[in-house]
Symmetry: C2
Subunit: 472 residues, 2 copies
């Protein structure tokens, strides 16, 4: 068995220049700060065979991979039944992580401005090393010290906060095609303390974060989902209604006072109906013997070479709770496309939400972007699996594309998982079918106070869309 | 194997007289109507051995009981891990019914009065035969005709309703100690149609239903849970603020305009926190070989004779989609106690909600009554399992008991399951601990728009408490 060293993102010259910004950019120092971290604090990630991964054991009979502590996560099999779906039945590997982590953002009012404490955090799966991350990003195994590492900075702010200072506290799902019922606790907690950021931490305004979102691979998934859970009117408070009709419609969409195409009661009925019409069976199974999946010494992959593979990595890191470890990771085969169609209805911007079924969801259906897929897999799947609005999104004229960036998915479990995030404006309001509804941002915000309503891809896009209120 | 015939509630003289009401009772004709159904339409229920139950097969190896169609429900084993709980680990049988049924109530505005179409429905587990039930009470297996029976009346009103006429549509849990993640879809749909009720159906006002709730075993669990999901202000709209301070505080508690001890954001934070602190493992297992449970020819029971047993029944019924069938049922050993402590805070009535963990919940914790237990089991359990406010409820002076009735749990799966439902007023506001919070009725109503927040026992009590606004 030879070690395969992937092109890692050890300190490299020039990489940071990709994000070089124009002179006079108000965020130039922020870009420079992150670029410094990317240059200084390296993390070496080597792709290694799954078999014999340090600290992990593979069950001889089932092939299930588990950490020797019994904590962190497991790679198991999932047998899925979805009668009536384009693919009504399949087997797949799945990441099973029952414990709930904390994604915590510390916030502070500075006059009318809301500032949040972010960190420059490297993850083994990240495309570009360090990205902007929440103040705290830790699984229970992290903070209970299962790995014997250092304590998690700022965690105490989220463990027993004054309830009146909690702006957000809601458990939200992660990718339901890769994780089985995984949830993270999204929190925003206000502080009055005059915290001087330690190395690797920095205060940013919400407006700054919004602007950073437009750059590829800069703002990580965890901070995007936490941002999306902030009340819409709070993130939009500082923004004046824009000069153009789109920005004005976007601003109205964030204010609870404005109506929507449907009442919230109608949306809740639509979601209940979708959940009740769909029967999903998702049973945990062995990894060995799954149809079309091959568990070898090196990796676990689909016979087509598509969907994803499970690989092993050895990680050497500076500045982490633990300096070196090994773990399995899920590597998606192909870049995703994640897009909302948006339109103005009575002067209020709406996005076309999809009532989407994913096998790993806790409650059958969550609201997803209009389009969420990996185009590379479509050739393999039946024609009915092609998302209805994909061509409309990919062929949109440039002036209708309101947002476009390539963003990274979570880098602690997912290896180089990236998607193209798009918001595409359309004048065609007449697109609703059984599984699609126009919803406003404040309606999504209301749903985001609760679990299981809005999936992680939609949450990222919501953060990006709201961010358009903060003009460059 | 001999058939054991239980005391069934075939047509019997005199039974109905138990609910005879005083002269001048505005609901005398309603009581008489139900009594007539109890006398006329019999249902014969014989307790029979589990082994060899007609239409059911038992897996030789695991002992799991399933219907030969693969539908309806299964009796399986559940292995529960609850680190830190009074009983941190146990095995138990569980009813597994993945399909979601409809509990549908057809409603009609008659001026300011809301009327609902109820049916007199017998269930094999019911104590007294017929009880008032929702317009539609059907599992998917019922309405898709798995049992080859007659179509379900009025079902079409709930299958594709005009979204603007849907007052309630939310999936709610059932008893999490007996069912694994069971949900029913609670619906209230408005109609303009001038429906003349067929035999066995009848229009009642909400006020009438509220008064009927105070009688033992008259209003079934399914209609109670649907009632509780109606917006609080809607059920209380017709009621004038009462003459006494308690009724006035109750009326305010139903109005969203009135404040509460905690903001809704604080309550959501409390619930997220409880869910995140508690790790519950609930794995489906075999029935055979469970510690302390004995699967015999006749029944499946705990060695202590406590908790519950799973029995078999043969049913002969008139007026049902199918005239005769056999099924397993869960028979609780002992009557339950279900109680809210209530108090007035700044003139608004609050109830003391318990963030309760049940192994069969979808999302770890739901809000439950202050006390929910089966006293008979407490002698067997460790002292720490004794509910903290049980004595306060059982020893309350009569004038502080605002509501008391013995109500039946769901009679389609549960055999003679009954609980004493109580609402006990207290002046002691200082009762909150980590797992208990004072909440108002409109806050509960807001949570009841969503799944997984309020358990079935609390929902029943909410319906009873609101019902106190409709004085006799």
């Amino acid at each position: 068995m030879t070690k395969t060293t992937s092109p890692s993102w050890m300190p490299q010259q020039g990489r940071a220049d990709r994000h070089a910004t124009a002179a006079g950019d108000p965020d130039a120092d922020v870009h420079e700060w992150l670029a410094d971290w990317r240059r200084q604090a390296g993390m070496r990630v080597d792709v290694v065979p799954l078999a014999g991964l340090r600290g992990w054991r593979q069950d001889a009979e089932t092939g299930v991979l588990a950490h020797q502590s019994g904590r962190f996560f497991r790679v198991e099999g999932l047998s899925v039944d979805m009668p009536g779906a384009a693919v009504p039945r399949w087997d797949q590997p799945v990441l099973h992580q029952p414990e709930v982590g904390i994604l915590g953002l510390l916030a502070r009012h500075d006059g009318d401005t809301l500032r949040v404490l972010v960190q420059a955090k490297a993850e083994p799966g990240n495309q570009e090393g360090h990205q902007f991350a929440p103040t705290v990003q830790a699984t229970r195994s992290n903070w209970t010290g299962v790995h014997g590492g250092r304590p998690v900075p700022f965690l105490h702010h989220f463990r027993n906060p004054d309830p009146r200072r909690v702006l957000v506290d809601v458990r939200q799902s992660e990718h339901g095609s890769w994780f089985l019922r995984k949830r993270n606790r999204n929190m925003v907690v206000l502080t009055d303390e005059d915290i001087v950021p330690p190395p690797g931490f920095r205060w940013l305004t919400i407006a700054q974060l919004h602007r950073l979102l437009r750059h590829d691979d800069l703002v990580n998934m965890d901070i995007r989902t936490v941002l999306s859970c902030l009340p819409a009117e709070l993130t939009a408070r500082a923004a004046l209604p824009g000069r153009d009709a789109f920005t004005a419609a976007l601003h109205r969409s964030c204010q609870p006072g404005w109506g929507g195409r449907h009442t919230t009661a109608e949306l809740l009925h639509w979601i209940s109906d979708a959940r009740s019409r769909t029967e999903v069976g998702a049973d945990r199974t062995a990894l060995r013997g799954q149809a079309a999946w091959h568990l070898g010494e090196v990796s676990l992959r689909h016979d087509s070479g598509l969907f994803f593979e499970v690989i092993g990595v050895d990680v050497d890191a500076e500045g982490r709770e633990v300096a070196s470890w090994s773990q399995p990771m899920l590597r998606p085969c192909g870049q995703g496309v994640v897009a909302f169609l948006a339109t103005r209805i009575d002067g209020v911007l709406h996005v076309l939400a999809h009532a989407r079924v994913e096998a790993g969801f806790v409650d059958v259906v969550e609201l997803a972007p209009t389009v969420q897929c990996t185009p590379a897999t479509l050739a393999y799947l039946p024609a009915a699996a092609r998302p209805p609005f994909l061509d409309q999104v990919l062929d949109a004229p440039p002036e209708r594309v309101r947002f476009r960036a390539i963003l990274s998915e979570e880098g602690g479990r997912l290896y180089r998982a990236r998607s193209s995030y798009l918001i595409v404006e359309t004048d065609d309001v007449d697109l609703e079918t059984g599984q699609y509804r126009w919803v406003s941002l404040h309606q999504l915000s209301e749903l985001l106070r609760h679990s299981n309503y809005v999936n992680v891809s939609a949450r990222s896009l919501i953060a990006c869309l709201r961010g358009l209120l903060d003009a460059n």
